[in-house]
């Protein structure tokens, strides 16, 4: 479902650009609005959320899927934690569909999916780990959670199109996003957001051309 947001970027309290292949880590407070903007189009944004106060509580793909009885995310989708608590609600979306099943690319999974020698290409899970290794540079609150590899649960891929057929097929298709499309969420608890702006070059998730995104936060 497509729905625009009334919020004006001029009033955002955070407005940062994250280049392709870079991590972004930030605490978002309950009641704040958080927008991910696809600046140039067709860019997968691998995103995880953690409770800002409890490192054991995080976004859960399966809890979110089961509670909404549907695979894709759009306006009205509620992002649930592994403890069954509501973390964020999607309140605006000009793209229309976001993926819950594709997870993050990784050096190791690239060897399986493409070729053994693709291991040394940059990947989202390497990007997550690199970001977490320098977590304190990004966000002091996030650093206190002490997140590591065990916390890299299946993530949301904003702007990524991974259709599942009634016969059980699953494919990575060309993106349905475009330049200037965005998705916006309201935080329902204090959360830490961990993003990898996807560097994948081997499939159409980024249109074979990874590009920058913008992250915006409003107090209301």
């Amino acid at each position: 479902m497509l729905l625009e947001s009334p919020l004006d970027p001029k009033n955002a309290v955070i407005r940062e650009t994250c280049l392709a292949g870079e991590p972004w880590i930030k605490t978002i407070r309950k009641g704040q609005f958080f927008r991910i903007l696809d600046l140039e189009g067709n860019q997968a944004v691998d995103t995880l959320f953690y409770s800002a106060t409890n490192p054991e509580e995080r976004y859960s793909a399966t809890d979110t899927i089961v509670r909404q009885g549907a695979l894709y995310l759009t306006v009205g989708s509620k992002l649930f934690s592994n403890e069954g608590n509501l973390m964020l609600t999607i309140v605006a979306d000009t793209c229309g569909r976001h993926d819950t099943l594709g997870g993050a690319c990784a050096a190791e999974s690239n060897t399986v999916r493409y070729a053994i020698d693709k291991r040394h290409m940059h990947s989202c899970r390497d990007n997550f780990l690199g970001g977490l290794a320098h977590c304190d540079c990004h966000d002091h609150g996030a650093a206190r959670l002490g997140l590591g590899k065990r916390d890299l649960a299946p993530n949301i891929n904003f702007f990524m199109n991974v259709p599942v057929t009634p016969e059980g097929g699953l494919t990575f298709e060309d993106g349905i996003s475009g330049a200037g499309k965005y998705v916006e969420m309201r935080a329902e608890m204090d959360v830490v957001c961990l993003i990898s702006n996807c560097p994948q070059l081997n499939n159409p998730c980024n249109g074979y051309n990874p590009t920058p995104i913008q992250l915006l936060v409003w107090d209301q």
């Binding site: 490192p55 054991e56 509580e57 995080r58 859960s60 793909a61 399966t62 809890d63 899927i65 089961v66 009885g69 549907a70 695979l71 894709y72 592994n82 403890e83 069954g84 569909r97 819950t100 099943l101 594709g102 997870g103 993050a104 990784a106 190791e108 999974s109 690239n110 060897t111 399986v112 999916r113 070729a115 053994i116 899970r125 590899k149 065990r150 916390d151 890299l152 649960a153 299946p154 991974v162 599942v164 057929t165 009634p166 059980g168 097929g169 699953l170 494919t171 990575f172």
Partner: protein, 242 residues
Amino acid sequence: MTTNIPSEKLRWEHVVPAGTHWSGMIRRGTVLRFTDIEGGANCSLMLFNPEDKLERYNMPDTLKAQHTALLSRGHCLYSDMGRIFASIVEDTLGWHDSFCGVSDAAMVKARYGDSHYQQAQNAMLRNGRDSLLIELGKYGLGPRDLGPTINLFSKVVADGEGRLAHVADHSQAGSHVDLRFEMNTLLCLSTAPHPLNASTTYAAHPVRLTAYAAEPVSADDYCRNFRPENQRGFINTERYVG
């Protein structure tokens, strides 16, 4: 297709009662047959590498490597390290759920009411999440280590909009699926009902585990050649176990 297990290959059998949980080490070269004794079972699996428990079953890597949302014969169950814990060498059902995870305490209480040991004793209604957390806890693992499960015997289909429907009566009595373990694997499982099972009663059923010796993986092995990705997954696994 059903292979009869020759008695000289049989290692052990164990029945996991309805709605309970189990864990154990399954060695490389073992096939574990899961049998739905009564029909209607659900068996939720988590897999870890006992040498490095940070290596665990990875749902997205498994699905995208094989371009599938369902799991059946030919599919391999991948770790996050590009290796194969187990391959599905036999399956009488054709569909096992990969993306719904397990029930939790609030869900089971809301549907079926309060159930405590004090009144119900070992018939208490266990939920999938707490069951798996108990088994994970035996190996020093906890909530941060619990991820999506493989839900054997369950089928959930998506329509064109991604809306899900749990298929009741998918698994009949006697249906089975065989996992051939390609790495030593710590297996944790729960037989609590599937989280989207709409039954108004707690519809749990027992699952029989039958362990038997695997044949060596041949060059023309069905799972290895099911997809080119699986050939590379086997290479990664052989480099590790070799």
